[in-house]
């Protein structure tokens, strides 16, 4: 499986890179007329990933129904359902939201009548505050487990990072972790408006890495391994350390912005800058 996976990953890497760029650069409000463009990847016989628009979707098949992690944009609903139906006749029973952003919860409103949607309490609160449709009916604070068809899926809240309500979704039988946007692309998008924190981010990842897993589905980008999560975590710390250092040296806002652009790949008008830059400077000053 690993070799096949690597080949697949290499093949799709460029496309995924583009998807991430699209995500970080395009504010959600302007995407409504878009057509769904996704691809179904098999990870195991009972676990598939749907990549393309918005966040990576995981599809876990049991003989009592399907458990889905995240549901992309609203316009992706029909395509998500078509892809699920291409591999199982089971109905979707649960949708687990990793966080509140519209590229991970956009199809909630379509799933809500027939499936149970679960998120952290903070993710739901952020959805309500942002007047997003399809807020979950069931929320948790620390940990929730779903037991379906003899299989188990565990959602955990490990602390702040991308937002103040990021859940990671663990599949113990597959030794697999869906990280949500706590791992996404190469450099973090810190949503300070949604309670995110660069200072807390690495500790949150450290806590998650205590779980026993090999395979990692990031929020955006190609499926990876636990080692890739460590690499990402170290890159988060490098960003924090470097920006903190520049702040201490009284570097200007523009000087810091240039380093973040050149060394960390933040697009000048992208969401990383819009949502993360000023908050990061303020947080790291303290």
């Amino acid at each position: 499986m690993s070799r096949t996976l690597i080949v697949r990953l290499s093949a799709t890497f460029l496309a995924l890179g583009c998807a991430w760029v699209a995500y970080t650069q395009a504010p959600q409000g302007k995407q409504q007329a878009k057509q769904a463009s996704n691809k179904l990847n098999k990870i195991t016989d009972d676990l598939y990933e749907i990549e393309g628009d918005g966040g990576n979707v995981a599809v876990y098949i049991t003989n009592e129904g399907v458990i889905v992690v995240d549901d992309k944009f609203e316009y992706d609903f029909n395509d998500i359902m078509a892809k699920i139906k291409s591999v199982t006749a089971q109905p979707v029973k649960y949708v687990l939201n990793t966080h509140h952003h519209g590229d991970h919860t956009g199809s909630n409103e379509h799933f809500l009548p027939t499936a149970e949607i679960i998120s952290t309490a903070n993710a739901r609160k952020n959805m309500i505050d942002g007047k997003q449709p399809g807020a979950p009916r069931v929320v948790f604070t620390d940990e929730t487990d779903v037991f379906l068809g003899g299989k188990q899926v565990q959602m955990r809240y490990f602390g702040r990072g991308h937002t103040n309500g990021d859940a990671m979704v663990y599949f113990p039988a597959l030794r697999l972790l869906h990280t949500g946007d706590l791992v996404a692309g190469n450099s973090p998008l810190i949503d300070y408006g949604g309670g995110g924190s660069l200072k807390e981010w690495a500790a949150t990842l450290d806590a998650a890495m205590k779980l026993d897993f090999d395979t990692m589905i990031p929020g955006h980008g190609p499926v990876g391994k636990k080692a890739d999560m460590l690499t990402y975590r170290n890159n988060v710390e490098k960003l924090r350390t470097e920006v903190t250092g520049m702040i201490r040296q009284n570097k200007s806002r523009d000087e810091i912005a240039k380093v973040v652009e050149d060394k960390y790949g933040w697009a000048p008008t992208g969401l990383q800058f819009q949502r993360g830059f000023d908050g990061m400077l303020a947080e790291l000053k303290r």
């Binding site: 948790f140 604070t141 620390d142 487990d145």
Partner: protein, 299 residues
């Protein structure tokens, strides 16, 4: 409303006490002769326009919270009570039951899962789930079904513009007791962490008398819990002050038993004391589940 409630409560008190005695004294597997006695009748008690309690059947108090998107229930008694619970709910709403929050894994609170799980989402603590899967209750039926969704610390339900919160505060009756809070009504369902009887400590199910009062203290000092009315696991609807009284009695019982044990009294001596002072009957669940564990824990 309050006066009506009081009248109802007094009227139902005797029957409820009888039901509780039946519960603690008759292991279910050996219940055949006891069944010939008149079963505790079902009563539908109104607490608010949208919250009712169903008592009866010698099983845990069921709470029924009505919203315009469906009903949220707390606990579902024994399997054989399904029809009676449904009939009582239909007296006050045509909404379907969407969720059941389980206070703990015992068959007189979660036995109905076998019938309800196909039509409602059942949510419990992870330990309550595991207690059913591992069949920790010696006298539970073999066909128990656990919740599909579990939590460790806290879960919140939002339905029809209303909120219900289930929270784990620590060990006591078992190692997985949830308290269910209705913020808009200032009502708390305690499960069997508070009943009209002395504490039944399910040591095989992870219970603890030492932790019990600490857990109740955590509940009563939780600033996010603002409640006046308390629905106990068994017994009449009560007030917050009654919960404090119960906590103090539990602490007193613990101190008295601990004193005896530390004086070197053996299990038989303590058993006689419990019968004389707390009406724990020989062969009761208290004697089976609680006494041996107390002898170890309170040493």
């Amino acid at each position: 409303m309050k006066r009506t409630l009081s009248v109802r409560l007094f009227a139902g008190l005797l029957a409820l006490t009888g039901a509780w005695v039946a519960y603690t004294q008759t292991p279910q597997g050996k219940q055949a002769p006891a069944q010939t006695k008149a079963p505790a009748p079902f009563n539908l008690i109104k607490i608010a326009d949208d919250l009712y309690v169903i008592d009866g059947g010698g099983a845990g108090n069921v709470a029924v919270y009505i919203t315009n998107e469906g009903v949220i229930m707390v606990d579902d008694k024994f399997e054989q009570h399904f029809d009676e619970i449904m009939a009582n709910i239909k007296k006050v709403t045509s909404q379907p039951v969407k969720y059941i929050l389980s206070t703990h894994y015992h068959a007189d609170h979660s036995g109905g899962n076998t019938r309800w799980s196909s039509i409602a989402e059942i949510i419990s603590t992870r330990n309550a789930h595991d207690g059913i899967v591992q069949h920790k209750q010696s006298n539970a039926p073999d066909n128990m079904i656990p919740a599909r969704v579990t939590f460790t610390q806290e879960t919140d339900l939002f339905l029809g513009g209303k909120e219900v919160r289930a929270k784990y505060y620590g060990r006591g009756h078992t190692n997985g007791d949830a308290f269910v809070y209705f913020p808009a009504l200032k009502v708390l369902h305690t499960g069997d962490m508070f009943t009209s009887a002395t504490p039944l400590i399910d040591y095989p199910g992870g219970g603890s008398l030492v932790e019990w009062t600490k857990t109740l203290d955590s509940v009563m000092s939780d600033k996010t819990l603002d409640f006046d009315t308390v629905i106990p696991g068994h017994g009449p609807v009560s007030k917050k002050a009654d919960l404090l009284t119960y906590r103090n009695k539990a602490a007193d019982m613990r101190t008295r038993v601990q004193t005896l044990i530390r004086q070197g009294k053996n299990q038989d001596d303590v058993a006689k004391f419990m019968t004389a002072e707390y009406s724990w009957q020989p062969g009761s669940l208290n004697m089976q589940w609680s006494l041996p564990g107390m002898m170890t824990e309170l040493k």
